[in-house]
């Protein structure tokens, strides 16, 4: 890093050395919770305890403890009456199942303990999701234990029983149908073929029924450009990737799947014969997305230019490949011509994707993809993907019909358009005009609360279902727990209303036997065991869609403008919270967004020059309005964003989702515009921004736990230099001694440790880490990491054991002191997962006065909670700032109302990991419970553990396999082989100069750029 002539910074406050940053930089834990003296405030804002109260409490506490010690409570042990055959208490059961939410899909394995699902992991048997999961899929297990879901059916806003609901609803439905009234079923994309069959049964019974499908974040434009289907995209075949506003590593269509493919092209090896080629990734966008942060070349455009950027790229490619160019304003963007050159040069291994939902833009992109030979290689139109089936036109015409009063009955099948459709307000106004309305939503949300009937669907972990994510690829969902509340899965409801037997499990099985398995070699039970059934080879089609480019160009020229000085809004989806369907999930709310590092809020992100121009600063509350819709939200200054552009995330501003979601942020869906018949996430006309004069803190973790002024934190190089010398960009710290300069690692006070058995270690590849943070959620679920809430995050007391440090780097020269203080318009970004480094010369161990943190004979830095007395010396002395202190009893206090203060929410707790109490330190344990369990399994079978059998929660959840965990004493393990190759190459330890000898190594980032100087 020292020799890379770069300055790295985590936030603008660090770059400009703001007083608030300087004040807190040496303050490990933020302010002490006792300093606030205002009465009546909650614990988290600062305790209002006085000295006398404290003494009273102390006296009472001592008395209570000594009384309680006299007699310990009788504990009961309650065995089953009739133990199910396959449940053995204390031994986990794993079930293959399927996660699908809207169009999201993942084949999963569900870990259950004593009948409770507690962890979701990827199912490697699936060739579609290949064992990768998004953070949302990881977090979905907590949504199962959401106490704010409906406990049973509701009729007219009052609790009812199912018999009453069925009777009244079917009577009204039959009456509506008898009069020939129009019936609509409104849903998001449905992956399940059997559910579609059930809906067809319902439609057969009530022939005036039509099924309207829409998506909260649609891909209608892309499907329209490909004749109504979503083609299969495979980034792993690409040498040149160009994305125009598609955040395909973070939020676009199937990010986890795409990230895995993308990472295949980004792996390099330092060995002589190692892989020295990488795909080159260009990103053009308005916001700094997670994908843009990982791109090699990136530049920005205003949302109003989006269509014209696609046109310009098409023309540049057409010019190089000798095709006809089309008329349209040419946008001059940095790197656009270079992108075109590379696309044409790697013809047959190139791909262009666009995040726009405008069908006309997507048609131009399709035409460009044809020119670079993407069809049949990186894009396959022969394999229909079902992730997005929404039809924006059908949905808006449904809302217009409803407003006109021509709909007799509507069923919202797990859809919440009042909240997540741009015309939600219009629909809410129209709903009373619909004679009969029912929602199967799991809670009385924005839409369901306006319906006459609510027939709550069961959670997917309580239900039978199936999925066909791609044509011919099948997958099954099986219940892993009996229904917690009196819910009934929607398919059973539809069957009941259609007058059929309501047993969906047998309906599903017979449908599979008849139409999917077809009596072939695979039996139902085997399919259920594997979770997936993939009978066919993939059909590859090189057919490219036929596009009338001239017509599309004309439409684009009408809707977009080359140069606009207006203020514009870009609406985007966040990596963590997504479209907001799981907004009441505290794990997702506390998920620091990869780029902005903000949680528990959305905000108006603007660039530094725009902020200066508008005289705004970070945290200023502003009123943003467009199309007559107004919201008030704080400003976040985001480097790398387009000028005069306000970025606002969807998924927030829920009104009726539950305690964790309601009132967090504002709803940005109404800002979405209708362009060429589709919902496009931009707003370019009449946008105003007005300061309210107030401020609001944003819970942003970017400068918390700062690794201060150290040198070798991030190391990076460019591919050109790396090919010549694998050590280029590597910084090797040297220390001056009496005998001349020496490697920092050669001088030590300590004798070192001897590891006879295992030596656990981890290698993190910065080249493939996309910063997606799925590992953060996985770690929280595995290790009972508490949720602390917005105010506590602002107080710098978040508890995540794993944080993803995001560094920006300035493009100014190191000597250019003035330039260095200006936030870059387009900074390079590095993501670095940071967790306990399990140092062999651990600074924390030497300062603990009670030996609560010690070193194990397997290389782990052990943290013993019951020994810890909370001096916090260890955290002070930790150079990596990875230790977290429990300021409160997060799992029992009502101040932390995040599912864990009730018995239902606590069912998700991993029983093999201690729930830490107030006053103790905690940190990454390297999932020692998994190590112990894996070793025990091996010992029982009288063998050594097999490499890969013991996996860390973070490593196992990483979509790109950036984290490798294993036994460094086992020469055949993947980690040993990797380190063998990389120790004279990319492998380095963070802050190597202090010689703490970590067991976690990092592999240097390599950017596929021609030279270091390019931005």
């Amino acid at each position: 890093m020292e020799n890379s002539n770069k300055r790295y910074w985590k936030g603008i406050e660090e770059l400009t050395n703001e007083p608030s940053f300087v004040k807190n930089i040496h303050n490990e834990f933020g302010n002490m919770p006792t300093e606030n003296d205002s009465k009546g405030e909650s614990l988290v804002d600062g305790s209002a305890t006085h000295r006398r109260d404290f003494l009273k409490m102390l006296g009472f506490g001592v008395a209570a403890v000594s009384l309680a010690a006299c007699e310990s409570p009788v504990k009961n042990t309650i065995p089953y009456l009739n133990k199910p055959e396959d449940v053995e208490p204390t031994i986990a059961n794993w079930y293959a199942s399927t996660y699908s939410d809207g169009g999201e899909y993942a084949s999963i394995l569900v870990k259950t303990r004593e009948g409770r699902p507690i962890k979701i992991e990827g199912n490697k048997s699936s060739s579609v999701s290949k064992g990768v999961l998004s953070g949302r899929a990881q977090a979905s297990v907590l949504s199962l234990y959401d106490n704010e879901k409906l406990k049973g059916p509701q009729v007219g806003g009052k609790s009812a029983d199912w018999a009453q609901l069925d009777k009244e609803f079917t009577a009204k439905l039959a009456a509506a149908a008898a009069k020939g009234g129009q019936i609509r079923i409104v849903s998001n994309s449905i992956l399940s073929p059997t559910t579609k069959k059930v809906i067809a049964e319902f439609t057969a019974k009530y022939p005036t029924t039509q099924h309207v499908v829409y998506d909260a974040n649609p891909a209608y434009g892309l499907t329209q450009a490909h004749g109504g289907i979503l083609p299969n995209i495979d980034f792993s075949q690409a040498k040149t990737i160009v994305s125009i506003g598609a955040d395909f590593l973070g939020s676009w269509i199937a990010p986890a799947e795409f990230a895995a493919q993308w990472a295949v092209t980004r792996k390099v090896g330092s060995a002589k014969d190692g892989k020295k080629t990488m795909s080159r990734h260009f990103q053009f966008e308005s916001i700094l997305s997670n994908t843009g942060a990982n791109a090699d070349y990136r530049s920005t455009y205003k949302p109003s230019q989006e269509g014209l950027v696609a046109l310009s790229l098409h023309n540049a490619v057409a010019k190089l490949s000798g095709a006809a160019s089309i008329s349209g304003a040419n946008i001059k963007l940095d790197h656009l011509d270079k992108a075109a050159t590379d696309l044409v040069a790697s013809k047959g291994a190139s791909i262009i994707v666009s995040g726009s939902n405008d069908p006309e833009v997507q048609k131009i992109i399709a035409a460009t993809n044809s020119l670079v030979g993407a069809y049949g290689t990186t894009i396959n139109t022969g394999l229909a993907v079902h992730y997005r089936q929404g039809n924006d036109m059908a949905m808006s015409s449904f809302i217009k019909e409803a407003a006109a009063g021509s709909i007799a009955a509507v069923i919202f099948y797990n859809a919440n358009p009042v909240y997540n459709h741009p015309m939600g307000a219009a629909l809410a106004a129209a709903l009373p005009k619909i004679g009969l309305s029912l929602a199967t939503n799991d809670r009385a949300d924005e839409t369901a609360s306006l319906c006459q009937f609510i027939a709550p669907d069961s959670h997917y972990l309580e239900s039978w279902n199936d999925a066909e994510p791609k044509a011919g690829f099948y997958s099954l969902t099986q219940p892993t727990i009996s229904t917690i509340f009196k819910t009934r899965q929607a398919q059973s409801s539809f069957l009941t209303w259609a007058g059929l037997a309501s047993d969906f499990a047998s309906y599903l099985e017979s449908n599979w036997e008849k139409n999917i398995l077809k009596g072939g070699a695979v039996a139902w039970k085997n399919a259920l065991h594997d979770g997936v059934f993939e009978p066919n080879a993939v059909n590859i089609s090189a057919a490219s869609p036929s596009v009338d480019v001239a017509a599309s160009a004309a439409a684009i020229n009408k809707s977009y403008s080359a140069s606009s000085t207006n203020l514009e809004i870009a609406v985007y989806e966040k990596v963590g919270l997504g479209t907001g369907s799981q907004a009441n999930n505290p794990w997702l709310q506390e998920f620091p967004e990869p780029v902005s590092k903000a949680c528990w809020d959305n905000y108006a992100a603007i660039s530094q020059p725009t902020a200066t121009k508008l005289k705004l600063a970070q945290g200023d509350l502003v009123e943003v309005s467009a199309k007559g819709y107004k919201v008030t939200l704080p400003v976040l200054v985001q480097p790398g964003q387009a000028q005069d552009t306000i970025a606002i995330a969807i998924g927030y501003g829920r009104a009726k989702a539950g305690k964790s979601a309601d009132g967090v942020g504002v709803n940005a869906y109404p800002f979405i515009s209708e362009i060429n018949g589709a919902c496009v996430g931009i707003n370019t006309q009449g946008v105003t921004i007005t300061p309210t004069g107030e401020t609001k803190d944003i819970a942003q973790t970017q400068t918390h736990h700062t690794v201060m002024a150290r040198q070798a934190v991030v190391q990076e190089t460019v591919l050109g230099s790396f090919v010549k010398d694998p050590l280029s960009g590597r910084y090797n710290p040297q220390i001056s001694t009496a005998e001349g300069k020496k490697d920092a690692t050669d001088i030590s006070l300590w004798n070192g440790h001897k590891y006879n058995n295992h030596a656990w270690g981890m290698v993190i590849d910065l080249n493939t880490c996309t910063g997606c943070s799925a590992c953060v959620i996985s770690c929280s679920a595995e290790n009972n990491v508490p949720v602390v809430g917005r105010q506590e995050v602002i107080n710098r007391r978040e508890m995540h054991w794993m944080r993803i440090d995001r560094y920006y780097s300035s493009d100014a020269e190191v000597e250019d002191l003035k330039g260095l203080e200006i936030a870059s318009d387009n900074p390079e970004v590095v993501f670095q997962p940071m967790l306990c480094q399990h140092c062999n010369n651990a600074p924390c161990e030497t300062v603990c006065p009670v030996l609560a943190t010690t070193h194990s004979s397997e290389g782990l830095n052990q943290m013993t909670y019951n020994r810890c007395i909370g001096t916090r010396y260890c955290a002070n002395n930790c150079p990596y700032k990875v230790r977290r202190f429990n300021w409160f009893r997060y799992f029992q206090t009502d101040d932390f109302d995040f599912h864990f203060n009730n018995d239902l929410g606590r069912m998700v707790i991993n029983p093999d990991v201690t729930v830490r109490s107030r006053g103790v330190m905690e940190k990454c344990s390297m999932c020692v419970q998994r190590i112990q369990a894996g070793k025990l399994e091996a010992k029982k079978e009288k063998r050594r553990p097999v490499d890969g059998e013991i996996q860390m929660a973070c490593a196992q959840s990483c979509p790109t396999n950036a984290i490798t965990f294993g036994d460094m004493n086992d020469p055949s393990s993947e980690i040993s082989k990797l380190l063998e190759v990389e120790k004279e190459g990319r492998a380095y330890h963070v802050i190597e100069e202090i010689n703490v000898k970590p067991n976690v190594s990092y592999l240097m980032k390599v950017r596929n750029k021609d030279s270091k100087k390019e931005a």
Binding site: I78, T854, L936, K939, K942
Partner: protein, 402 residues
Amino acid sequence: MFCKKSTLVTFLFSIALLFATASASYSQDAAEGESLFKNNCAACHNTSDETLVGPGLKGISERRPIEWIVSWVHNPQAMIASGDKYANDLYNKFNKAAMTPYPNFTEGQIKGIVAYIDAANAAPAAPAAGAAPAAGAAPATAPSSGGMMELLLVGLLIIMVLVLIALLSIVNTLSKLSGSEANASGKPFFQSLSENAKSLAANSAVKTGVIVLALLLGGKATIDAAYGVGIHQGYAPEQPIKFSHKLHAGEYQINCNYCHTGVYEGKGANVPSANICMNCHNAIKRESPEIQKIYSALEKNEPIQWVRVHNLPDLAYFNHSQHTNVGALECKSCHGEVEKMEVVEQRSSLTMGWCIDCHRQTDVNAKGNAYYDKLVEVHNKDSKTPLKVQNIGGLECSKCHY
């Protein structure tokens, strides 16, 4: 459940094996009859007149002629088919559950068994007493052990006080004798005693000594008591059902694993579910009020709330299979002789010191386990002593705390 079935099969198979070995040995002696009875008959019959699965056999030699008994034991079904009235009445009385035939028993062996039954009933203090009286006796003896201790202490205290008085009176007498000239006034004994005590109390050295002693003793008592907080050694709570381990594990020698199904597989050994009880008790002793409690639990669908005897704090992770399966420890190493306990009690202290002591002393069960091969090899290079648990990290914090 499959593993449970297999254990049941093993259990039955071992009974059959016992039977085979027993029938091979030949003896007419009542002592030999005892072993035959215990191995073959005791699962269903009592030597008293109490009914188990089958009728109690007290006075069988008087009730039926020996020839009838022999042919009944050899083939009960044939007797019933032959229309024998007594046999048919018996058959109907026990819900048409026929007895297992024992065609291999010789007449002499059967006579031996009968002789044993008679002998058992002739001697009232015979050890082959039924389960019921033993179960009744247990709660009476269990609390008395605590009472005995207190009684003993009070007794000791009284004796010590008496000894003290005796000693003081001797001192007094002696001082009277030696100092009769100096102290001729001849004060009464108790007066001089109180004066002596007063002068003693006035002595500052004595005062300091007493205070220091009191502080030391008080300190020691406090520390001991503090160390004892949370230790429940000897805890033997009353259970909702008076289940006797002595009977099941001791007398009938049912393997621990038969009921505690997780003990070789999982973290917990598991308290058996009611359906395991029902494997036997749907036939045996159905009418017992204790077993009726299981039936009523099943009927009401309300699980039985057993009282936990062994409680480890949540912060300590303990896995049974590591110790029983990998370490090949016997259950009694930690749980004591459960097969002799009428009411289960916590025998070990379950403190961390107790765990650590064992980890210091115990050899690793490394033989034939490839996991340990390299560790043993490395250890043997530097050391003559066998590989102990502590040598492979058995004393490290995160072996148990995470």
